[in-house]
Amino acid sequence: MTGPLLRVRDLTATVTTRREVIRAVRGVSFDINADEAVGFVGESGCGKSVTAKALMRLAPEGASIALGGSVAFWGQELLGLGEEEMRDLRGRRIAMVFQDPMTSLNPVMSIGAQMADMLRRHLGLSGRAARERGIELLDLVGIPEPARRIDDFPHQFSGGQRQRILIAIAISCEPDLLIADEPTTALDVTVQAQILRLLLRLREERGMALMLITHDFGVVAGMVDRVNVMYRGEIVETGLVDDVFSAPQHAYTRALLDAVPRLQGAGAIR
Protein backbone atom coordinates (compact mmCIF):
# COMPACT_ATOMS: atom_id res chain seq x y z
CA MET A 1 0.00 0.00 0.00
CA THR A 2 2.28 2.72 -1.21
CA GLY A 3 1.52 5.74 -3.30
CA PRO A 4 -1.75 7.60 -3.30
CA LEU A 5 -5.06 6.08 -2.30
CA LEU A 6 -6.43 6.87 -5.70
CA ARG A 7 -4.42 7.50 -8.84
CA VAL A 8 -6.42 8.42 -11.91
CA ARG A 9 -4.68 8.76 -15.26
CA ASP A 10 -6.17 9.89 -18.56
CA LEU A 11 -9.63 8.80 -17.53
CA THR A 12 -12.18 9.07 -20.30
CA ALA A 13 -15.88 8.37 -20.04
CA THR A 14 -18.27 8.21 -22.95
CA VAL A 15 -21.89 8.20 -21.92
CA THR A 16 -24.49 6.78 -24.29
CA THR A 17 -28.12 7.67 -23.76
CA ARG A 18 -31.11 6.94 -25.96
CA ARG A 19 -30.65 10.31 -27.60
CA GLU A 20 -26.95 10.96 -27.83
CA VAL A 21 -23.38 9.97 -27.19
CA ILE A 22 -21.47 12.35 -24.93
CA ARG A 23 -17.77 12.41 -24.29
CA ALA A 24 -18.38 13.43 -20.70
CA VAL A 25 -14.86 12.98 -19.35
CA ARG A 26 -12.00 13.68 -21.75
CA GLY A 27 -8.80 12.51 -20.15
CA VAL A 28 -8.54 13.63 -16.54
CA SER A 29 -5.65 12.78 -14.26
CA PHE A 30 -5.50 13.34 -10.52
CA ASP A 31 -4.46 11.76 -7.24
CA ILE A 32 -6.24 11.58 -3.93
CA ASN A 33 -4.03 10.73 -0.98
CA ALA A 34 -5.15 8.93 2.13
CA ASP A 35 -6.71 11.41 4.59
CA GLU A 36 -6.90 14.07 1.92
CA ALA A 37 -9.98 16.08 0.95
CA VAL A 38 -10.16 17.06 -2.70
CA GLY A 39 -12.84 19.23 -4.25
CA PHE A 40 -14.17 19.03 -7.80
CA VAL A 41 -15.90 22.22 -8.91
CA GLY A 42 -17.65 23.02 -12.15
CA GLU A 43 -21.00 23.70 -13.75
CA SER A 44 -23.61 21.14 -14.70
CA GLY A 45 -22.42 19.04 -17.60
CA CYS A 46 -18.71 19.61 -16.89
CA GLY A 47 -18.17 15.93 -16.15
CA LYS A 48 -17.58 16.10 -12.41
CA SER A 49 -20.38 13.71 -11.47
CA VAL A 50 -19.56 11.32 -14.31
CA THR A 51 -15.94 11.29 -13.11
CA ALA A 52 -17.10 10.26 -9.64
CA LYS A 53 -19.41 7.59 -11.02
CA ALA A 54 -16.64 6.33 -13.30
CA LEU A 55 -14.41 5.69 -10.30
CA MET A 56 -17.06 3.33 -8.98
CA ARG A 57 -17.74 2.04 -12.48
CA LEU A 58 -21.34 3.22 -12.33
CA ALA A 59 -23.26 4.64 -15.28
CA PRO A 60 -25.48 7.72 -15.01
CA GLU A 61 -29.15 6.78 -14.76
CA GLY A 62 -30.67 5.50 -17.99
CA ALA A 63 -27.34 5.47 -19.81
CA SER A 64 -24.41 3.22 -20.46
CA ILE A 65 -20.82 4.24 -19.94
CA ALA A 66 -17.54 3.29 -21.65
CA LEU A 67 -14.38 4.02 -19.71
CA GLY A 68 -10.76 4.42 -20.75
CA GLY A 69 -7.52 5.24 -19.02
CA SER A 70 -6.59 4.05 -15.57
CA VAL A 71 -8.06 4.19 -12.09
CA ALA A 72 -5.79 2.68 -9.46
CA PHE A 73 -7.07 2.26 -5.92
CA TRP A 74 -4.21 1.50 -3.54
CA GLY A 75 -2.32 0.46 -6.65
CA GLN A 76 -5.02 -1.93 -7.86
CA GLU A 77 -6.42 -1.19 -11.31
CA LEU A 78 -10.20 -0.89 -11.12
CA LEU A 79 -11.13 -0.56 -14.76
CA GLY A 80 -10.36 -4.21 -15.54
CA LEU A 81 -11.83 -5.60 -12.34
CA GLY A 82 -14.67 -8.12 -12.49
CA GLU A 83 -18.12 -6.92 -11.55
CA GLU A 84 -18.17 -9.15 -8.46
CA GLU A 85 -14.91 -7.75 -7.10
CA MET A 86 -16.11 -4.25 -7.95
CA ARG A 87 -19.32 -4.78 -6.00
CA ASP A 88 -17.29 -5.82 -3.00
CA LEU A 89 -15.23 -2.64 -3.24
CA ARG A 90 -18.21 -0.33 -3.68
CA GLY A 91 -19.69 0.71 -0.40
CA ARG A 92 -16.97 -1.06 1.55
CA ARG A 93 -13.77 0.69 0.48
CA ILE A 94 -15.22 3.51 -1.62
CA ALA A 95 -18.61 4.90 -0.61
CA MET A 96 -20.75 7.56 -2.17
CA VAL A 97 -23.33 10.10 -1.03
CA PHE A 98 -25.52 11.72 -3.65
CA GLN A 99 -27.38 15.00 -3.84
CA ASP A 100 -30.92 13.80 -3.45
CA PRO A 101 -31.38 11.76 -0.29
CA MET A 102 -34.98 10.93 -1.14
CA THR A 103 -34.21 9.06 -4.33
CA SER A 104 -31.11 7.37 -2.92
CA LEU A 105 -33.03 5.77 -0.07
CA ASN A 106 -35.52 2.99 -0.62
CA PRO A 107 -38.90 4.47 0.35
CA VAL A 108 -40.49 1.15 1.33
CA MET A 109 -37.69 -0.11 3.55
CA SER A 110 -37.05 1.08 7.10
CA ILE A 111 -33.74 2.83 7.43
CA GLY A 112 -32.63 0.14 9.88
CA ALA A 113 -33.18 -2.51 7.21
CA GLN A 114 -31.27 -0.44 4.66
CA MET A 115 -28.35 -0.02 7.00
CA ALA A 116 -28.38 -3.69 8.00
CA ASP A 117 -28.34 -4.69 4.35
CA MET A 118 -24.99 -3.00 3.86
CA LEU A 119 -23.50 -4.19 7.15
CA ARG A 120 -24.49 -7.81 6.65
CA ARG A 121 -23.38 -7.94 3.05
CA HIS A 122 -20.01 -6.26 3.48
CA LEU A 123 -19.05 -6.95 7.07
CA GLY A 124 -20.98 -10.18 7.61
CA LEU A 125 -22.62 -8.89 10.78
CA SER A 126 -25.51 -10.82 12.29
CA GLY A 127 -28.97 -9.25 12.29
CA ARG A 128 -28.69 -8.16 15.89
CA ALA A 129 -25.14 -6.82 15.55
CA ALA A 130 -26.12 -4.94 12.40
CA ARG A 131 -29.04 -3.33 14.20
CA GLU A 132 -26.84 -2.26 17.10
CA ARG A 133 -24.24 -0.89 14.73
CA GLY A 134 -27.00 0.94 12.84
CA ILE A 135 -28.15 2.64 16.04
CA GLU A 136 -24.55 3.66 16.81
CA LEU A 137 -24.13 5.09 13.35
CA LEU A 138 -27.37 7.08 13.52
CA ASP A 139 -26.19 8.49 16.82
CA LEU A 140 -22.82 9.34 15.29
CA VAL A 141 -24.42 11.40 12.53
CA GLY A 142 -26.66 13.21 14.99
CA ILE A 143 -30.09 11.60 14.61
CA PRO A 144 -31.83 12.11 17.97
CA GLU A 145 -33.21 9.01 19.73
CA PRO A 146 -31.61 6.60 17.24
CA ALA A 147 -32.92 3.43 18.93
CA ARG A 148 -36.47 4.66 18.51
CA ARG A 149 -36.02 6.00 14.97
CA ILE A 150 -34.18 3.08 13.38
CA ASP A 151 -37.41 1.37 12.32
CA ASP A 152 -38.83 4.52 10.72
CA PHE A 153 -39.10 4.97 6.97
CA PRO A 154 -37.33 7.65 4.90
CA HIS A 155 -40.39 9.88 4.55
CA GLN A 156 -40.57 10.21 8.33
CA PHE A 157 -37.33 12.19 8.35
CA SER A 158 -36.57 15.74 7.24
CA GLY A 159 -34.35 16.38 4.21
CA GLY A 160 -31.34 17.13 6.39
CA GLN A 161 -31.91 14.01 8.47
CA ARG A 162 -32.19 11.88 5.34
CA GLN A 163 -28.85 13.21 4.18
CA ARG A 164 -27.38 12.34 7.60
CA ILE A 165 -28.78 8.81 7.24
CA LEU A 166 -27.20 8.45 3.80
CA ILE A 167 -23.90 9.57 5.26
CA ALA A 168 -24.33 7.05 8.09
CA ILE A 169 -24.90 4.28 5.53
CA ALA A 170 -21.95 5.46 3.45
CA ILE A 171 -19.50 5.40 6.36
CA SER A 172 -20.93 2.23 7.92
CA CYS A 173 -18.23 -0.02 6.51
CA GLU A 174 -15.48 2.50 7.28
CA PRO A 175 -14.54 3.23 3.67
CA ASP A 176 -11.12 4.67 2.81
CA LEU A 177 -12.69 7.15 0.42
CA LEU A 178 -16.03 8.93 0.63
CA ILE A 179 -17.31 10.50 -2.55
CA ALA A 180 -19.89 13.20 -1.85
CA ASP A 181 -21.66 14.49 -4.95
CA GLU A 182 -23.45 17.79 -4.21
CA PRO A 183 -24.31 16.50 -0.73
CA THR A 184 -25.88 19.77 0.43
CA THR A 185 -27.35 21.26 -2.73
CA ALA A 186 -30.94 20.34 -1.92
CA LEU A 187 -30.69 21.61 1.65
CA ASP A 188 -31.36 24.85 3.46
CA VAL A 189 -28.38 26.95 4.41
CA THR A 190 -28.39 26.15 8.15
CA VAL A 191 -28.84 22.44 7.44
CA GLN A 192 -26.06 22.67 4.86
CA ALA A 193 -23.72 24.05 7.51
CA GLN A 194 -24.63 21.14 9.82
CA ILE A 195 -23.91 18.54 7.13
CA LEU A 196 -20.59 20.17 6.24
CA ARG A 197 -19.58 20.16 9.90
CA LEU A 198 -20.58 16.51 10.14
CA LEU A 199 -18.47 15.56 7.10
CA LEU A 200 -15.52 17.50 8.47
CA ARG A 201 -15.79 15.79 11.84
CA LEU A 202 -16.16 12.30 10.41
CA ARG A 203 -13.19 12.82 8.16
CA GLU A 204 -11.02 13.89 11.05
CA GLU A 205 -12.20 11.15 13.41
CA ARG A 206 -11.85 8.33 10.91
CA GLY A 207 -9.03 9.53 8.71
CA MET A 208 -11.15 9.05 5.63
CA ALA A 209 -10.33 10.67 2.30
CA LEU A 210 -13.03 12.85 0.81
CA MET A 211 -13.86 13.66 -2.79
CA LEU A 212 -16.31 16.56 -2.64
CA ILE A 213 -18.14 17.45 -5.82
CA THR A 214 -20.02 20.72 -5.99
CA HIS A 215 -20.86 23.69 -8.15
CA ASP A 216 -20.60 25.94 -5.10
CA PHE A 217 -17.22 27.53 -4.39
CA GLY A 218 -18.44 28.47 -0.92
CA VAL A 219 -18.99 24.80 -0.09
CA VAL A 220 -15.52 23.63 -1.12
CA ALA A 221 -13.80 26.62 0.47
CA GLY A 222 -13.72 25.37 4.05
CA MET A 223 -13.79 21.66 3.34
CA VAL A 224 -10.93 20.58 1.12
CA ASP A 225 -7.14 20.73 0.84
CA ARG A 226 -6.96 20.78 -2.94
CA VAL A 227 -9.42 21.65 -5.65
CA ASN A 228 -9.81 20.61 -9.29
CA VAL A 229 -11.84 22.87 -11.55
CA MET A 230 -13.59 21.01 -14.35
CA TYR A 231 -14.85 22.37 -17.65
CA ARG A 232 -16.17 20.35 -20.58
CA GLY A 233 -14.84 17.06 -19.35
CA GLU A 234 -11.38 18.28 -18.50
CA ILE A 235 -9.59 19.52 -15.42
CA VAL A 236 -8.63 23.07 -16.34
CA GLU A 237 -7.08 24.05 -13.05
CA THR A 238 -5.78 22.22 -10.03
CA GLY A 239 -4.13 23.49 -6.89
CA LEU A 240 -4.26 24.07 -3.18
CA VAL A 241 -7.63 25.53 -2.31
CA ASP A 242 -6.15 28.72 -0.86
CA ASP A 243 -4.08 29.33 -4.00
CA VAL A 244 -6.94 28.68 -6.40
CA PHE A 245 -9.18 31.10 -4.53
CA SER A 246 -6.60 33.83 -4.06
CA ALA A 247 -4.92 33.57 -7.46
CA PRO A 248 -6.98 31.61 -9.99
CA GLN A 249 -4.89 30.92 -13.10
CA HIS A 250 -7.47 29.80 -15.62
CA ALA A 251 -9.95 32.28 -17.09
CA TYR A 252 -12.79 29.85 -16.47
CA THR A 253 -11.95 29.56 -12.77
CA ARG A 254 -11.89 33.35 -12.53
CA ALA A 255 -15.26 33.59 -14.27
CA LEU A 256 -16.77 31.07 -11.86
CA LEU A 257 -15.35 32.82 -8.81
CA ASP A 258 -16.52 36.20 -10.07
CA ALA A 259 -20.05 34.88 -10.54
CA VAL A 260 -20.35 33.74 -6.93
CA PRO A 261 -22.77 36.16 -5.27
CA ARG A 262 -21.30 37.76 -2.17
CA LEU A 263 -23.13 38.58 1.00
CA GLN A 264 -21.05 41.68 1.46
CA GLY A 265 -18.00 43.44 0.16
CA ALA A 266 -15.38 42.63 2.76
CA GLY A 267 -16.40 39.78 5.03
CA ALA A 268 -18.24 42.07 7.41
CA ILE A 269 -20.02 39.15 9.03
CA ARG A 270 -18.98 38.97 12.61
Binding site: L196, D216, P261
Partner: protein, 320 residues
Amino acid sequence: MTAAPLLQVRDLSVLFPARRGAPPVRAVERLSFEIAPGQTLGLVGQSGSGKTTAGRAILQLQKASGGSVRLLGQELTTMPAGALRRMRRHMQFVLQNPYSSLHPRMTIGQILSEPLQVHRSVPANRVRERVEELLELVNLDPTMMRRYPHEFSGGQRQRVVIARALAVNPDFVVCDEPVSALDVRTQAQIVALLQSLQEKLGLSYLFIAHDLAIVREMAHRVAVMFRGRIVEMGSADQVYDSPAHPYTRLLLDAVPVPDPRLQRERLRQAPPDLRFLEGDGGACVHGVDHEGAGTPEWHEVAEGHGVSCRYWPAGSSPAG
Protein backbone atom coordinates in the same frame (compact mmCIF):
# COMPACT_ATOMS: atom_id res chain seq x y z
CA MET B 1 -41.81 54.77 1.89
CA THR B 2 -42.40 57.94 -0.10
CA ALA B 3 -44.01 56.74 -3.35
CA ALA B 4 -47.52 55.31 -3.11
CA PRO B 5 -47.05 51.56 -2.84
CA LEU B 6 -47.86 49.43 -5.84
CA LEU B 7 -48.57 46.47 -3.63
CA GLN B 8 -49.85 46.68 -0.09
CA VAL B 9 -50.19 43.53 2.01
CA ARG B 10 -51.86 43.78 5.42
CA ASP B 11 -52.14 40.99 7.98
CA LEU B 12 -52.25 38.35 5.27
CA SER B 13 -52.81 34.89 6.75
CA VAL B 14 -53.13 31.45 5.20
CA LEU B 15 -54.43 28.54 7.21
CA PHE B 16 -54.29 25.01 5.81
CA PRO B 17 -57.15 23.11 7.42
CA ALA B 18 -56.66 20.04 9.59
CA ARG B 19 -56.19 16.89 7.57
CA ARG B 20 -56.25 13.25 8.59
CA GLY B 21 -55.71 13.93 12.24
CA ALA B 22 -52.94 16.45 11.60
CA PRO B 23 -53.64 19.83 13.17
CA PRO B 24 -54.29 22.85 10.94
CA VAL B 25 -51.14 24.60 9.72
CA ARG B 26 -50.73 28.34 9.98
CA ALA B 27 -48.61 28.60 6.85
CA VAL B 28 -48.63 32.40 6.73
CA GLU B 29 -49.42 34.56 9.73
CA ARG B 30 -50.26 38.25 9.60
CA LEU B 31 -47.85 39.22 6.88
CA SER B 32 -47.66 42.96 6.27
CA PHE B 33 -45.45 44.82 3.81
CA GLU B 34 -45.48 47.18 0.89
CA ILE B 35 -43.64 47.27 -2.41
CA ALA B 36 -43.11 50.61 -4.17
CA PRO B 37 -43.17 50.91 -7.97
CA GLY B 38 -39.88 49.82 -9.51
CA GLN B 39 -38.70 48.23 -6.26
CA THR B 40 -37.85 44.70 -5.19
CA LEU B 41 -38.72 43.14 -1.88
CA GLY B 42 -36.66 40.04 -1.17
CA LEU B 43 -38.43 37.37 0.85
CA VAL B 44 -35.99 34.94 2.42
CA GLY B 45 -36.37 32.00 4.74
CA GLN B 46 -35.82 28.27 4.85
CA SER B 47 -37.99 25.69 3.17
CA GLY B 48 -41.29 25.44 4.99
CA SER B 49 -41.13 29.03 6.23
CA GLY B 50 -44.20 29.94 4.16
CA LYS B 51 -42.55 32.16 1.57
CA THR B 52 -43.93 30.35 -1.47
CA THR B 53 -47.41 30.18 0.07
CA ALA B 54 -47.20 33.91 0.75
CA GLY B 55 -46.37 34.58 -2.91
CA ARG B 56 -49.26 32.42 -4.06
CA ALA B 57 -51.68 34.06 -1.64
CA ILE B 58 -50.67 37.51 -2.90
CA LEU B 59 -51.38 36.44 -6.48
CA GLN B 60 -54.71 34.94 -5.34
CA LEU B 61 -53.58 31.48 -6.40
CA GLN B 62 -54.05 30.40 -2.81
CA LYS B 63 -57.03 31.41 -0.71
CA ALA B 64 -56.08 33.65 2.20
CA SER B 65 -57.80 33.05 5.53
CA GLY B 66 -57.50 36.70 6.48
CA GLY B 67 -55.97 40.04 5.68
CA SER B 68 -55.81 42.25 2.65
CA VAL B 69 -53.83 42.47 -0.59
CA ARG B 70 -54.10 45.68 -2.57
CA LEU B 71 -52.50 45.98 -5.99
CA LEU B 72 -52.67 49.38 -7.73
CA GLY B 73 -55.04 50.43 -4.96
CA GLN B 74 -57.51 47.64 -5.61
CA GLU B 75 -58.38 44.98 -3.06
CA LEU B 76 -57.73 41.52 -4.51
CA THR B 77 -58.95 39.21 -1.76
CA THR B 78 -62.61 40.11 -2.24
CA MET B 79 -62.49 40.76 -5.97
CA PRO B 80 -65.03 38.83 -8.13
CA ALA B 81 -63.52 36.18 -10.41
CA GLY B 82 -64.06 38.13 -13.65
CA ALA B 83 -62.44 41.28 -12.35
CA LEU B 84 -59.60 39.26 -10.87
CA ARG B 85 -58.99 37.63 -14.24
CA ARG B 86 -58.63 41.06 -15.81
CA MET B 87 -56.37 42.09 -12.94
CA ARG B 88 -54.02 39.18 -13.65
CA ARG B 89 -52.34 40.98 -16.51
CA HIS B 90 -50.87 43.32 -13.90
CA MET B 91 -49.36 40.52 -11.83
CA GLN B 92 -47.31 37.60 -13.09
CA PHE B 93 -45.33 34.66 -11.77
CA VAL B 94 -41.83 33.33 -12.57
CA LEU B 95 -41.24 29.90 -11.09
CA GLN B 96 -38.18 27.99 -10.08
CA ASN B 97 -38.02 25.14 -12.52
CA PRO B 98 -37.56 26.20 -16.14
CA TYR B 99 -37.79 22.55 -17.17
CA SER B 100 -41.30 21.82 -15.96
CA SER B 101 -42.88 25.23 -16.41
CA LEU B 102 -42.75 25.23 -20.22
CA HIS B 103 -45.04 22.93 -22.20
CA PRO B 104 -42.75 20.47 -24.02
CA ARG B 105 -45.02 20.14 -27.10
CA MET B 106 -45.42 23.86 -27.72
CA THR B 107 -42.95 25.95 -29.65
CA ILE B 108 -41.44 28.98 -27.95
CA GLY B 109 -43.63 31.11 -30.25
CA GLN B 110 -46.81 29.32 -29.15
CA ILE B 111 -45.80 29.58 -25.51
CA LEU B 112 -45.31 33.32 -25.79
CA SER B 113 -48.44 34.00 -27.88
CA GLU B 114 -50.73 32.24 -25.44
CA PRO B 115 -50.87 34.98 -22.77
CA LEU B 116 -51.22 37.62 -25.51
CA GLN B 117 -54.31 35.86 -26.85
CA VAL B 118 -55.79 35.11 -23.43
CA HIS B 119 -55.53 38.73 -22.33
CA ARG B 120 -56.17 40.09 -25.85
CA SER B 121 -53.31 42.48 -25.19
CA VAL B 122 -52.40 42.90 -28.86
CA PRO B 123 -54.48 42.50 -32.05
CA ALA B 124 -54.12 39.10 -33.73
CA ASN B 125 -52.03 40.46 -36.59
CA ARG B 126 -49.50 41.93 -34.17
CA VAL B 127 -48.92 38.80 -32.02
CA ARG B 128 -45.91 37.63 -34.01
CA GLU B 129 -44.28 41.02 -33.83
CA ARG B 130 -44.84 41.16 -30.07
CA VAL B 131 -43.34 37.66 -29.61
CA GLU B 132 -40.22 38.82 -31.47
CA GLU B 133 -40.09 41.89 -29.28
CA LEU B 134 -40.36 39.76 -26.14
CA LEU B 135 -37.55 37.45 -27.19
CA GLU B 136 -35.35 40.44 -27.89
CA LEU B 137 -36.26 41.91 -24.53
CA VAL B 138 -34.81 38.88 -22.75
CA ASN B 139 -31.78 38.79 -25.09
CA LEU B 140 -32.83 35.76 -27.10
CA ASP B 141 -32.74 35.43 -30.87
CA PRO B 142 -36.26 35.95 -32.31
CA THR B 143 -35.73 33.05 -34.72
CA MET B 144 -35.97 30.80 -31.65
CA MET B 145 -39.74 31.02 -31.75
CA ARG B 146 -40.08 28.00 -34.03
CA ARG B 147 -38.14 25.73 -31.69
CA TYR B 148 -39.12 23.63 -28.67
CA PRO B 149 -38.13 24.01 -25.02
CA HIS B 150 -35.95 20.87 -24.91
CA GLU B 151 -33.63 22.45 -27.48
CA PHE B 152 -32.56 25.06 -24.95
CA SER B 153 -30.39 25.25 -21.88
CA GLY B 154 -31.78 25.94 -18.41
CA GLY B 155 -30.77 29.59 -18.59
CA GLN B 156 -32.39 30.09 -22.00
CA ARG B 157 -35.58 28.43 -20.81
CA GLN B 158 -35.70 30.68 -17.78
CA ARG B 159 -35.41 33.65 -20.17
CA VAL B 160 -38.43 32.27 -22.05
CA VAL B 161 -40.34 31.94 -18.76
CA ILE B 162 -39.49 35.56 -17.97
CA ALA B 163 -40.55 36.67 -21.47
CA ARG B 164 -43.87 34.89 -20.99
CA ALA B 165 -44.44 36.64 -17.68
CA LEU B 166 -43.69 39.99 -19.32
CA ALA B 167 -45.89 39.36 -22.39
CA VAL B 168 -48.88 41.19 -20.91
CA ASN B 169 -46.90 44.17 -19.57
CA PRO B 170 -47.34 43.43 -15.88
CA ASP B 171 -46.50 45.91 -13.12
CA PHE B 172 -45.70 43.30 -10.53
CA VAL B 173 -43.90 39.95 -10.84
CA VAL B 174 -43.51 37.31 -8.15
CA CYS B 175 -40.22 35.49 -8.76
CA ASP B 176 -40.15 32.29 -6.73
CA GLU B 177 -36.60 30.86 -6.62
CA PRO B 178 -36.09 31.97 -10.23
CA VAL B 179 -32.40 31.04 -10.36
CA SER B 180 -31.92 28.27 -7.82
CA ALA B 181 -31.94 25.53 -10.46
CA LEU B 182 -29.26 27.25 -12.52
CA ASP B 183 -25.47 27.24 -12.58
CA VAL B 184 -23.72 30.09 -10.89
CA ARG B 185 -22.73 31.95 -14.08
CA THR B 186 -26.23 31.53 -15.51
CA GLN B 187 -27.66 32.75 -12.21
CA ALA B 188 -25.63 35.91 -12.49
CA GLN B 189 -26.90 36.47 -16.04
CA ILE B 190 -30.55 35.98 -15.09
CA VAL B 191 -30.18 38.28 -12.09
CA ALA B 192 -28.66 40.93 -14.37
CA LEU B 193 -31.52 40.44 -16.83
CA LEU B 194 -34.18 40.83 -14.13
CA GLN B 195 -32.46 43.99 -12.94
CA SER B 196 -32.23 45.52 -16.39
CA LEU B 197 -35.89 44.69 -17.07
CA GLN B 198 -36.84 46.35 -13.83
CA GLU B 199 -35.00 49.48 -14.86
CA LYS B 200 -36.40 49.47 -18.38
CA LEU B 201 -40.01 48.64 -17.54
CA GLY B 202 -40.35 49.95 -13.99
CA LEU B 203 -41.34 46.51 -12.69
CA SER B 204 -41.82 45.67 -9.04
CA TYR B 205 -40.67 42.27 -7.85
CA LEU B 206 -41.39 40.07 -4.92
CA PHE B 207 -38.21 38.01 -5.06
CA ILE B 208 -38.52 34.77 -3.08
CA ALA B 209 -35.34 32.80 -2.46
CA HIS B 210 -33.52 30.78 0.12
CA ASP B 211 -30.15 32.00 -1.17
CA LEU B 212 -29.36 35.08 0.85
CA ALA B 213 -26.50 36.21 -1.36
CA ILE B 214 -28.68 36.30 -4.49
CA VAL B 215 -31.35 38.25 -2.63
CA ARG B 216 -28.80 40.80 -1.53
CA GLU B 217 -27.97 41.48 -5.18
CA MET B 218 -31.60 41.83 -6.22
CA ALA B 219 -33.52 43.40 -3.39
CA HIS B 220 -33.99 46.99 -2.22
CA ARG B 221 -35.78 45.80 0.88
CA VAL B 222 -35.67 42.38 2.53
CA ALA B 223 -38.12 40.47 4.72
CA VAL B 224 -36.98 37.38 6.63
CA MET B 225 -39.65 34.74 7.17
CA PHE B 226 -39.71 32.08 9.82
CA ARG B 227 -42.61 29.76 10.57
CA GLY B 228 -45.04 31.82 8.54
CA ARG B 229 -44.14 35.16 10.09
CA ILE B 230 -41.85 37.96 9.10
CA VAL B 231 -39.27 38.16 11.88
CA GLU B 232 -37.24 41.02 10.41
CA MET B 233 -37.66 43.55 7.64
CA GLY B 234 -35.64 46.51 6.46
CA SER B 235 -33.51 47.81 3.63
CA ALA B 236 -31.09 45.23 2.24
CA ASP B 237 -28.19 47.07 3.91
CA GLN B 238 -29.96 47.21 7.25
CA VAL B 239 -30.86 43.53 7.31
CA TYR B 240 -27.53 42.24 5.96
CA ASP B 241 -25.15 44.64 7.67
CA SER B 242 -26.93 45.00 11.01
CA PRO B 243 -29.23 42.02 11.43
CA ALA B 244 -31.32 42.47 14.57
CA HIS B 245 -33.15 39.16 14.92
CA PRO B 246 -31.23 36.08 16.09
CA TYR B 247 -32.81 34.01 13.32
CA THR B 248 -31.54 36.43 10.67
CA ARG B 249 -28.06 36.26 12.19
CA LEU B 250 -28.23 32.48 12.18
CA LEU B 251 -29.12 32.43 8.49
CA LEU B 252 -26.38 34.88 7.56
CA ASP B 253 -23.76 33.03 9.57
CA ALA B 254 -24.62 29.76 7.83
CA VAL B 255 -23.96 31.06 4.31
CA PRO B 256 -20.66 29.60 3.12
CA VAL B 257 -18.17 32.26 2.13
CA PRO B 258 -15.87 31.74 -0.86
CA ASP B 259 -12.78 32.39 1.24
CA PRO B 260 -11.03 29.21 2.40
CA ARG B 261 -9.44 30.59 5.54
CA LEU B 262 -12.58 32.35 6.75
CA GLN B 263 -14.83 29.45 5.83
CA ARG B 264 -12.61 26.91 7.62
CA GLU B 265 -12.76 29.06 10.72
CA ARG B 266 -16.53 29.27 10.57
CA LEU B 267 -16.99 25.53 10.19
CA ARG B 268 -14.75 24.98 13.20
CA GLN B 269 -16.76 27.26 15.43
CA ALA B 270 -19.23 25.59 17.74
CA PRO B 271 -22.45 25.02 15.83
CA PRO B 272 -25.24 27.41 16.74
CA ASP B 273 -27.81 26.31 19.27
CA LEU B 274 -30.96 25.87 17.24
CA ARG B 275 -33.16 24.85 20.14
CA PHE B 276 -34.52 28.34 20.55
CA LEU B 277 -36.30 27.86 17.26
CA GLU B 278 -38.33 24.97 18.57
CA GLY B 279 -40.76 26.77 20.87
CA ASP B 280 -42.95 29.63 19.77
CA GLY B 281 -40.52 32.04 21.40
CA GLY B 282 -42.76 32.76 24.38
CA ALA B 283 -43.30 36.27 25.63
CA CYS B 284 -42.17 39.50 24.00
CA VAL B 285 -38.46 40.12 24.68
CA HIS B 286 -39.32 43.72 25.52
CA GLY B 287 -41.92 42.63 28.03
CA VAL B 288 -44.81 44.16 26.09
CA ASP B 289 -48.20 42.44 26.34
CA HIS B 290 -49.03 42.71 22.64
CA GLU B 291 -52.17 40.65 22.82
CA GLY B 292 -53.58 42.75 25.65
CA ALA B 293 -52.59 46.00 23.97
CA GLY B 294 -53.69 44.80 20.52
CA THR B 295 -50.38 45.82 18.96
CA PRO B 296 -48.37 43.79 16.45
CA GLU B 297 -45.35 41.89 17.78
CA TRP B 298 -43.07 44.28 16.00
CA HIS B 299 -40.39 46.72 17.13
CA GLU B 300 -38.57 49.33 15.09
CA VAL B 301 -34.81 49.27 15.55
CA ALA B 302 -34.15 52.03 13.01
CA GLU B 303 -36.18 53.94 10.50
CA GLY B 304 -37.70 51.39 8.14
CA HIS B 305 -36.01 48.52 9.97
CA GLY B 306 -38.20 46.41 12.23
CA VAL B 307 -37.93 43.13 14.05
CA SER B 308 -40.36 40.71 15.62
CA CYS B 309 -40.07 40.00 19.32
CA ARG B 310 -40.87 36.33 18.79
CA TYR B 311 -38.48 33.39 18.51
CA TRP B 312 -35.75 34.93 20.61
CA PRO B 313 -33.57 32.55 22.63
CA ALA B 314 -34.70 32.29 26.24
CA GLY B 315 -33.07 34.92 28.45
CA SER B 316 -31.66 36.94 25.55
CA SER B 317 -32.21 40.64 25.21
CA PRO B 318 -32.45 42.58 21.96
CA ALA B 319 -29.60 44.80 23.11
CA GLY B 320 -27.23 41.84 23.48
